[in-house]
Symmetry: C2
DNA sequence: CACCATTACATCGCACACGATACAATCATG
DNA sequence: CATGATTGTATCGTGTGCGATGTAATGGTG
């Protein structure tokens, strides 16, 4: 994706600029996920599973929809993912006693213990990537703002 | 993903900050893709197919690896995707005469004509999202820089 | 020219993503 | 309290992503 040359049409420039925002987002997200993989693979985790576990380490026990609200994922993605986590033994899935529609997700002892094994991952990644901290901070701030905005647009 | 509270350990703070960068990238990318979908669906296109076509509109004819270098995708993703685009009739796949290993991708007349049908998509999306242009510009600049950096890290 | 390494693409297997739909449990309304 | 709407998960189908591997074509070496 080369930067596109300027044209005589300002409106078109805006379009192209906008058009290009989506791609670095898409590509950078996949590349970063790829960098996580060698750190997660020894633990038998995929990146989305790691995201879900991070949510659980902070909020468990919680329902499938709670996880979905945090991760922006629906049951059609979460149900099979959570079943895998259950089969490996990190979590437990149990129907809520008061509302049988809800499936409550709890961490097993092993799942809780896994957290400490993951605690070095972020620093390892930070070292491996070697990206300036201030740029990462600025980027995170802006991405959080965009994410919030997109969430409101999508849910509208 | 709530912002995490500060802790007594600066090193841990860095970890958490870093840890959180990946998630808004991951979530924002998927949400933005989701917003493209209703605009692409009438044309029978998925978002990755749209990315590949944008590359082709600018660079066709080119090889599978050329597309892969632009989109950061390998043949295991591109081959089936390109076969679908061929079956629909937007592109042609042909082995290079001088090097039979290479598959050259060319646009059909229909594939070229499709470009004009897609030209309104970015503005429609820009209008739908309603995000400040200057923030989008700043974000794109930083994402491009991160993407470049990640590419060099991954290929190293 | 033989032979091994490299390259370019294809195939396989698995795990997401997500729209569409199904289904059971609960809620809301009359 | 009946009953239709809503809610929370699950299932299905399609299309990515990507590590691992296969395979044929090309290139480099002696």
């Amino acid at each position: 994706m080369e930067p596109l040359p300027p044209t005589a049409h300002p409106a078109t420039d805006l379009l192209r600029l906008e058009q290009q925002l989506c791609f670095p987002l898409y590509a950078a997200s996949r590349l970063l996920t790829r960098l996580y993989q060698p750190l997660l693979e020894p633990l038998g985790l995929t990146y989305p599973q790691y995201i879900v576990l991070m949510i659980l380490w902070e909020h468990a026990p919680c329902s499938v929809s709670d996880i979905g609200a945090q991760a922006q994922l629906a049951s059609n993605t979460l149900t099979p993912l959570l079943k895998r986590l259950e089969q490996i033994g990190w979590i437990e899935r149990r129907r809520d006693a008061h509302d049988e529609r809800i499936v409550n997700i709890a961490l097993t002892d092993a799942g809780l213990a896994l957290k400490s094994q993951c605690e070095q991952i972020p620093m390892q990644l930070f070292t491996r990537i070697g990206y300036p901290l201030d740029e990462m901070q600025a980027l995170k701030t802006q991405l959080d703002r965009l994410l919030n905005h997109l969430q409101s647009v999508v849910s509208a």
